[in-house]
Symmetry: C2
Subunit: 346 residues, 2 copies
Amino acid sequence: MRRGVLERPTIAYETLGKMAPGGDSTVLVFTGLSPSAHIASSPEDASAGWWEDMVGPDKPIDTNRYFVVCLNSLGSCFGSTGPASINPATNSLYRLDFPVLCLEDIATAGAALLDHLGVGTAHSVVGASMGGMTALAFALLFPGRCRGLLSISAAARSLPFAIALRSLQREIIRKDPEWRQGQYDFDKGPVSGMRLARKLGMITYRSAAEWAQRFGRERATQEPQQGDPFGIDFEVESYLEAHANKFIGAFDANCYLYLSRAMDLFDATDHGGSLDRALAQVELERALIIGVESDFLFPPHQQAELAEALRPHVRDLAFKRLASIQGHDSFLVDMDRFRPAVSRFF
Amino acid sequence: MRRGVLERPTIAYETLGKMAPGGDSTVLVFTGLSPSAHIASSPEDASAGWWEDMVGPDKPIDTNRYFVVCLNSLGSCFGSTGPASINPATNSLYRLDFPVLCLEDIATAGAALLDHLGVGTAHSVVGASMGGMTALAFALLFPGRCRGLLSISAAARSLPFAIALRSLQREIIRKDPEWRQGQYDFDKGPVSGMRLARKLGMITYRSAAEWAQRFGRERATQEPQQGDPFGIDFEVESYLEAHANKFIGAFDANCYLYLSRAMDLFDATDHGGSLDRALAQVELERALIIGVESDFLFPPHQQAELAEALRPHVRDLAFKRLASIQGHDSFLVDMDRFRPAVSRFF
């Protein structure tokens, strides 16, 4: 990978609610790997956002009370500068000339966004999955820029099981001949590789228990494809196919590779030699760390570890382990458990 | 898939120890998806077998006392008839003309092998993973042909999480352009797809806890490949690469597809309408069901379910849940726990 500096990157963002003077009520949200900055519907954009159930008037993150700022991650492809953007130095796309990306870079973009908006110290920084790791990176890099941290289904570092899964997803994409070492046409691209990587993602984002309950051994209703003796047979295969199809075309392959690898590279201990020394730098008044029983990509012992490591350094620290059965994705779907947990923080 | 009948299939097998008159001391072993019939070294073949630590003189399955028979599964590619064999009706390879394969077919091949050897009732039928399901299929289909059952890290049926993972492995292979709808050259073939599918296999055969302990966030020692900015970086990636390379060329892709799908299709309840009615047909004197805490492909609740369902029908029934951290593969590597557990059965 290339180390380097981005000249004047663009950061796409969305705000909801009104900024209080000084920006005290600002909630800065970092996203997971794939969403855009569109976190929730508003008069400006009535379409549902990626955390529609959680953010809005009278919702757990109440836009009547808070000024919610969500950014599209640096390196992504929904308005922020990333591998699919034009490199002003060459006037052609960055592709693999994009420099190595870390979650710290995304956190730094968040701080620049607060500067731009005139927010000194935010109420809190919030994120789930990759966003939860980025929120922690923000708290480490910019002590004093946020009073609270809400980190959901994230971790202080990536462990080898999750690294292996993401590494395999990346290799699946890169082995698609249509990837062409990153030089693919945007109307073609590694569609097959992206579809397979997305299916692997779906498998790791949910849980065996949920699927046993939901699909059991139900057979798919569609007719088996002619000439393909190993086509879809079980309902769970049909479900994965439908979800993968939705993803295709929506996300740029090179951006996916950069963001995926950025998650692998994250390790909070890099900020101090040990987790304790790293976390001693945060200046948080309060933090809530949430984990989910059935999450095997970011298993709950990782959130417990983060919470325990934060405890000596944060006066008001809570760790909540939820019994959701939807795995890593629970924060998007198990609103019955997540709404009250998040509400208590706000 | 094609339904059909195989004319005079060949079954490759290996025997160790001496057959007692009538064959009472016979232990019939079904393998997991990938091994050959070579279960352990002997004067005839001094190379290490796939269960070398478990089978042999004075080992837990003691060849001084037992006549051990292991077969290469029907549908596999190590001597038994499978998709990579010549179809006598056409004089060309079966490939995708091989009829749909079920674990029941492999079990039936095992019964034919006992006939061939002159064994009436075996001491026991044994298997782990796919072999454990096949052993159960044998007990269901051929009541009275074995007195005991040892089923390890297996299940009474495949659940959607495991089906999804295997379905994705198969799709990865089929999406490799070199698969050519099963018509690949044997010196070429879908090497890239097989490598990726094997890596996914390795991820599902081991456990997050083992890898956290073994690799942590250690970096690979090899130099990053030039021109591939997403190459191997972490030690866990290097480990997967080495294991995938060992597998390549050793296993035929079409055989893999058939055997993988056969696992998905297995459901003991098909033999009686309910698990209880199905298992009421077995005529076993004793059974030992072993599961492993850290196995997320065949999680221990599935072995517990099988044991509970067998309990009313088998006088001497034991269920053992082992604390191994090596996941589904523990029966191949955690000999400290598996040796005593298996010894007690024999």
